[in-house]
């Protein structure tokens, strides 16, 4: 059988459809690249969900909105982000396996949530829906204060004296406070003053927290502190009672906490005399032996123990039972400091978050975090100052208690991918009483490395590093990293490189980081000092290791512009991998022993190598390195002395700034001034850059100990200007006092150069000096004599005697000051 068909019919009915089909199949996927499979799936899910919603009505529809929109989003706080970035920390949050990511767009959510708030059943889901709606409004710009209206409307729907009504009114008050509408906040707080059946203690505590903040905005810091103290005490009492009722045996973290609360209550009256956080030491140790030290805190309340308050405050945070308690404790800490320093008006901070190309970053989280709260990660349910950026990337905080703050940002992976926020650990924002600060944040594209990259294998005597030039960069710092089994050893290999390329001799890489004389990273296997990580010892001398490198670009003022390290999550942003291999040398038998973690044998092997060839600088360097590692465990003085004797020889064979620095540091510790001065001078000579703030500080301290006070003060003054962390401010203040400067001018310096560290806030030195002033006022002559005597002892390095004196009998301001000075560095 045959088919007869005209060509035109063949084309029309067969070839044309086939061609169209082929075109569709081939073109479609490439045209669709703007939608990844995941996005496509999400878009499909959205369509399905919206259709389902459209098909339902009445209570079934409300039920559906509740199940599909309100409840899934309620699993976590709205202020939960994939990445939290900040100067002192960064944190990644992966979305959990069981979590549903809503396919809905913000506009869909607003519409559905609005509907639910108006028509949904007036139960707990309604409150959640309101909170989510408010977040969406904020992210969209909250035009005409829709958010406040939505909360007010929802509050109308619940019964007027219910805890839901009170909670919603408190939410309105909080938002009014944050927006700087203090009068409205006050009215709402009044409205929220009624007794409720459920959750009363939580709501009382929350109301007190808001009232305390509001009182502060009215210049009533002292009243605010009293209110917060008693609210905290009350809250803890209720919890302790509940705890006792539930658990009669009484494990009692709450009981302890409430006891400690009593101590805090006493602090208000103590006024300016207590030491705040100055006694330090409360970094994080408190966590392990909590029960015992809490008990101690309670006991010490009898003797007025102002000195303990810093410790107690820190520990109470660890034991806080709920976010409400955490908030109250944080407010208490902030108010206490504000009262001591006489701050009497709130501050405002606003800004815009954009990318360097001008695109606003919308829906990013902005967390304004007080210095005393930075030790823990962002806790979105108790952060006092958090907001989401609107469509233009804007944010604003009002009614902020003055003090030192850092901003942390919350991003989605998409927002931060390929970009970096060039923030540094010492980027502090000081919000002064009554100030209005604008703080814009600009994200920068990650810098691209050019060579060596992508696991390139290098041989030869030098490594040629090259990277993308950055506009406006005054210099670059190059860091190298040795990676071993998940441990990283990073060194700043070269600083202040002015070009976008540099040639670094392999020997300089082998010397990277100099020697660590104190802490060594360990790996599994091997005992004692033999567990020290081979990678930390061999570094770049191991041709089998994979190395990576990175670049930070700085402007002329020393601020980071951008960096090569960051989030690289798409094929386009992955870019060049920063890895390379350095196979310029082969390992010696002794090196292999190190790699095999046979350190004791390696030590002997290097000793033999060096004895056989006194020019073998590698063996000598490794020998010293191993001796340091051994000493870090044995603390045997003989080992250290041997290492140092050898180091003197090494610096002759291989003159390297790192080695000279190690020697200077060693002789500084021993007050061997002629050797110190010799190696400090050598260090400056070998160093490729101008002395940095740390070099100057250390030398300033050394000069001070040598009695060369004027030179010391000059070096320390230069260091303070250059070092944003003001790490050596205590030494500088001591040097100024020793030179006979009055307390007033020393106080000015303490204020000008705030030191920020885990245990000490930026106001701790000014507070110490203010206490000295108060103490001096009582008996000036006796105080001056004692101060001169103790400073003399400090300059002549009678540290032990001073520590003993500072620790015994009644604590005084001078004892606290001397103790703090001894802890500098």
């Amino acid at each position: 059988m045959k088919i007869r068909i005209k060509v035109k019919h063949l084309v029309l009915f067969l070839l044309l459809p086939l061609t169209l089909l082929a075109v569709f199949v081939f073109i479609r996927p490439s045209a669709g690249t703007d939608l990844s499979p995941a996005q496509q799936a999400s878009a499909d899910a959205r369509t399905v969900l919206l259709q389902k919603l459209a098909a339902s009505s009445g209570s079934a529809r409300m039920q559906l909105i509740r199940e599909k929109v309100v409840e899934p989003a309620n699993v976590h706080s709205a202020y939960r982000f994939n990445v939290y970035a900040g100067g002192s920390m960064s944190q990644v949050n992966q979305i959990g396996e069981d979590e549903e990511v809503s396919p809905l767009l913000p506009a869909d959510r607003i519409k559905l949530l609005e509907e639910y708030v108006q028509e949904g059943p007036a139960d707990y889901s309604l409150q959640n829906a309101v909170k989510q709606l408010v977040y969406e409004y904020d992210a969209a710009g909250n035009a005409g204060d829709q958010a406040d209206q939505a909360i007010a409307a929802a509050a109308q729907r619940v019964s007027s004296k219910s805890s839901a009504a009170r909670e919603l009114t408190l939410l309105r008050a909080e938002r009014a406070l944050n927006a700087g509408r203090f009068v409205q906040a006050g009215q709402l707080l009044e409205q929220a003053e009624f007794s409720v059946q459920y959750n009363e203690s939580e709501l009382d505590a929350r109301a007190a927290w808001l009232q305390g903040r509001l009182l502060f905005t009215q210049g009533k810091g002292r009243e605010a502190l009293t209110l917060v103290n008693s609210a905290l005490e009350e809250y803890r009492k209720i919890w302790a009672e509940r705890d006792a009722a539930l658990n009669p045996a009484g494990s009692g973290s709450q009981q302890n906490a409430s006891g400690a609360g009593g101590v805090d209550g006493g602090d208000v009256d103590g006024g300016g005399t207590d030491g705040g956080g100055t006694d330090g030491g409360s970094k994080d140790g408190g966590n392990t032996d909590s029960g015992g030290s809490d008990g101690g805190g309670t006991g010490s309340s009898a003797d007025g123990g102002g000195n303990n308050s810093g410790n107690n405050a820190a520990e109470q945070v660890y034991h806080a039972s709920s976010s409400t308690e955490e908030q109250l404790v944080a407010l208490q800490t902030a108010l206490r400091e504000a009262v001591k320093l006489g701050f009497n008006a709130p501050a405002t901070l606003s800004g815009t978050l954009t990318k360097s190309d001008g695109t606003p970053v919308a829906r990013a989280g902005i967390f304004l975090r007080a210095e005393s709260e930075l030790y823990h990660s962002v806790q979105s349910d108790s952060e006092p100052y958090q907001i989401v950026t609107d469509a233009e990337g804007r944010f604003q905080f009002s009614g902020v208690i003055p003090g030192f703050y850092q901003i942390q940002l919350g991003f989605s992976f998409e927002q931060i991918d390929g970009w970096t926020w060039p923030v540094q650990p010492d980027d502090w924002i000081e919000l002064q009483a009554g100030s209005s600060v604008t703080h814009d944040i600009t994200l920068q594209p990650l810098l691209e490395l050019q060579s060596p990259v992508n696991s390139q294998v290098l041989t030869g005597d030098a490594v040629q590093f090259k990277w993308e030039a950055v506009d406006g960069a005054a210099y670059y710092n190059l860091s190298t990293t040795v990676e071993e089994k998940g441990s990283f050893f990073s060194y700043v290999t070269r600083q202040r490189i002015t070009d976008n390329q540099v040639e670094i001799p392999v020997t300089e890489l082998y010397n990277s980081g100099g020697f660590s004389t104190s802490s060594f990273s360990t790996v599994e296997g091997g005992e004692g000092w033999q567990s020290v990580s081979p990678a930390s010892l061999l570094g770049f001398a191991n041709p089998d290791s994979r190395f990576s490198w990175s670049i930070d670009a700085y402007d002329a003022q020393g601020h980071v512009i951008t960096r090569s390290n960051g989030y690289r999550l798409k094929e386009e942003t992955v870019g060049n991998l920063p890895f390379f291999y350095l196979k310029s040398r082969t390992m010696t038998a002794a090196d292999k022993l190190v790699a095999d973690q046979k350190l004791e044998e390696a030590l002997e092997a290097y000793r033999n190598d060096y004895a056989g060839n006194p020019q073998d600088d590698h063996a000598l360097k490794m020998l010293i390195h191993l001796l340091f590692a051994k000493h870090s465990y044995s603390r045997d003085a003989g080992t250290m002395d041997e290492a140092m004797t050898l180091l003197v020889k090494l610096v002759e064979l291989r003159p390297d700034a790192n080695f000279a620095f190690n020697l200077a540091d060693y002789y500084l510790g021993r007050s061997d001034w002629s050797s110190y001065n010799k190696y400090h001078a050598l260090y400056l000579e070998l160093s490729s850059h101008e002395p940095d703030s740390y070099d100057r500080s250390q030398n300033g301290v050394a000069l001070m100990y040598q009695g060369r006070l004027d030179e010391a003060r000059e070096q320390l003054a230069l260091a303070m200007e250059a070092d944003p962390s003001h790490r050596f401010i205590g030494s500088y203040l001591a040097a100024e006092l020793a030179a006979g400067q009055p307390l007033e001018s020393v106080l000015e310096l303490a204020k000008r150069y705030p030191q920020h560290s885990f245990s000490q806030g930026g106001y701790s030195w000014p507070l110490l000096i203010m206490e000295l002033q108060a103490e001096r006022a009582e008996a000036p002559a006796a105080f001056d004599k004692l101060l001169a005597e103790k400073l003399d002892a400090y300059l002549s390095r009678q540290d032990e005697a001073l520590e003993q004196w500072a620790g015994e009998a009644t604590p005084t301001a001078l004892k606290r000051f001397i103790k703090a000075v001894l802890e500098v560095g």
Partner: protein, 112 residues
């Protein structure tokens, strides 16, 4: 004279008696070439006769080819969408944070 011519004509006719002229169309094509349009129309309206067996065989070959060509892509596509739905793991190395799958792919590309 006339007789002579007649004879020659007769002879020519006799000699050409078995020759027939069949080149009309070719001559016409050369003297009056058909327009492009006419040729296209002719082609367009040309009738093809396709044996059903051949057509069936061709269709079978084509279908098999298409299936073989696209089958791997179809399965890969399904796998991909599953992979996307599964959790991706982040990895921090060389100072950067990558998705582990992308990172491993990049390393593989450079180290082989």
């Amino acid at each position: 004279m006339d007789n002579g011519r007649e004879t020659i004509r007769q002879r020519l006719e006799d000699e050409l008696a078995h020759v027939t002229f069949s080149g009309h169309s070719r001559v016409l094509e050369q003297t009056h070439p058909p327009t492009f349009r006419a040729r296209l129309a002719a082609l367009w309206n040309k009738e093809l006769e396709i044996p059903l067996g051949t057509l069936g065989a061709a269709a079978a070959v084509l279908t098999t080819g298409v299936l073989l060509f696209y089958a791997p892509q179809i399965t890969v596509k399904q796998q991909q969408s599953i992979q996307v739905q599964e959790r991706r793991e982040l990895i921090e190395t060389g100072g950067n944070t990558y998705w582990k799958d992308l990172y491993e792919q990049a390393v593989k590309q450079h180290e082989n």
